[in-house]
């Protein structure tokens, strides 16, 4: 039997989004943002959270990189490498849709 889906690879034109089974939620008990998924709860750091929040299915990876570089006053090249690696990892775990 063949795989029906294929592995997605991050490109600058991808418009990432969170799949239905993944959501970001503020937890008032721990006063932190949690990412909820089928069997796991993640506690993303500030930068990861900033990337995930921009995964709205509208913004391109290129746009996300530009926004973050501006927000953090950082070199877009460095930001690009981090963002692409992060999104590929989360996509490989099916936690982000590309």
């Amino acid at each position: 039997m063949m795989a029906l889906r294929e592995r997605a690879i991050v490109s600058l034109r991808s418009a990432p989004s969170l799949p239905r089974h993944v959501r970001i939620q503020y937890d008032p008990v721990r006063q932190a943002f949690a990412v909820l998924s089928p069997e796991k709860v993640f506690w993303p750091n500030e930068i990861s959270l900033d990337i995930l929040r921009r995964c709205d299915g509208q913004s391109s990876v290129e746009r996300i990189i530009a926004d973050l570089a501006a927000d953090y006053d950082a070199d877009p090249q460095d930001v690009a490498a981090d963002v692409v690696a992060f999104l590929q990892e989360w996509s490989d775990k099916l936690l982000v849709k590309l």
Binding site: M1, R20, H21, Q25, L36, P38, D92, L94
Partner: protein, 380 residues
Amino acid sequence: MSAPLLPPIGMLAELTHRCPLQCPYCSNPLELLKANRELDTQTWLDLFSQAADLGVLQVHLSGGEPTLRRDLEQLIAGLSARGVYTNLITAGVGIAEGRIEAFAEAGLDHLQLSFQGARPVTTDRIGNHRGSHEKKLETAHRARAAGLPLTINAPVHRHNIEEVPEFIDLALSLDAERLEIANVQYAGWALANRDRLMPDLAAVNRQADIVAAARERLAGIMTIDFVTPDYFAIYPKPCMGGWARDAFMVAPDGTVLPCHAAQTIPSLRFERFGDRSLAEIWADSPAFNAFRGTEWMQEPCRSCERCEVDWGGCRCQAMAIAGDAAATDPACVKSPIHNRMAILTDAALAQAAPEGNESFIFRRIGATTRPDTPAEPARR
């Protein structure tokens, strides 16, 4: 208690012990509760609300078969209203028309569906329910059609370990995001049937290689979670992520437990929701505090550098095999009785019946209350 008490993240709600299947490795206790012992709708809703206040972010709705509760839609809606992530763990047999859609509408986040085999004949034989495989396929299609993300759960033992490649194909064909290859944990009914279920080392190693290769091949396509077999382990699992550390479970009658099998530890007394609040039980229950943190540990756990990695392993396995719930889990290579795992495995394999002729103790009310009850012959 050295470490600060943290709020729980996850809760497993065993809504009922009723189930159409009779899997011989069921994690429910041997003494199953009848329907008249189950909490009513409002009590479950109160419990869920207290759980959310306490910090629970995920609730796994399980059983028995949770869809036998006619109020399941209401329970899902109650959790959803509190922002709790809901995961329905179902056998997928006999779910009435329209209900899966109703669960999705009530806010269900995810559905986990068990398959006893990748082949219809295996599924039907292990669950002792003719036609169950077909019904499960239909449940998977209905769940996907309702937009629900899907995990396929495959409990693995001697009689289906060679079907692991087929389980992977099955999960892909059903458009599942996740597949759990879960080697059976020998507690509850699985302990009673251990000799009838234990796989051999060669099969375990083949399976591990197949899963490792599939994980690599399927990155970005399907996630495979692998629950490794304790009896062939070097280090134990951090059972429940550590006793009473960030998760707990509730039995159908409201008894609040640190894990599935905790009631097999005779020295512990458990409390019921309603007699005390969930917050009080989580913080103060002697059963929860018995093995919390690391203070309770004996050697070799106490001075082990892994004591906060695997938290001593499984208390119930220590009870079952070492006869002492505070002992190091015998699955650990550092346990003084670690070799007992291999002895038990060899003994199980020496008694293996020809394939297809195993006489399981099928899980049903009244089948047994003692693990050493002679097996009834399979009725198929």
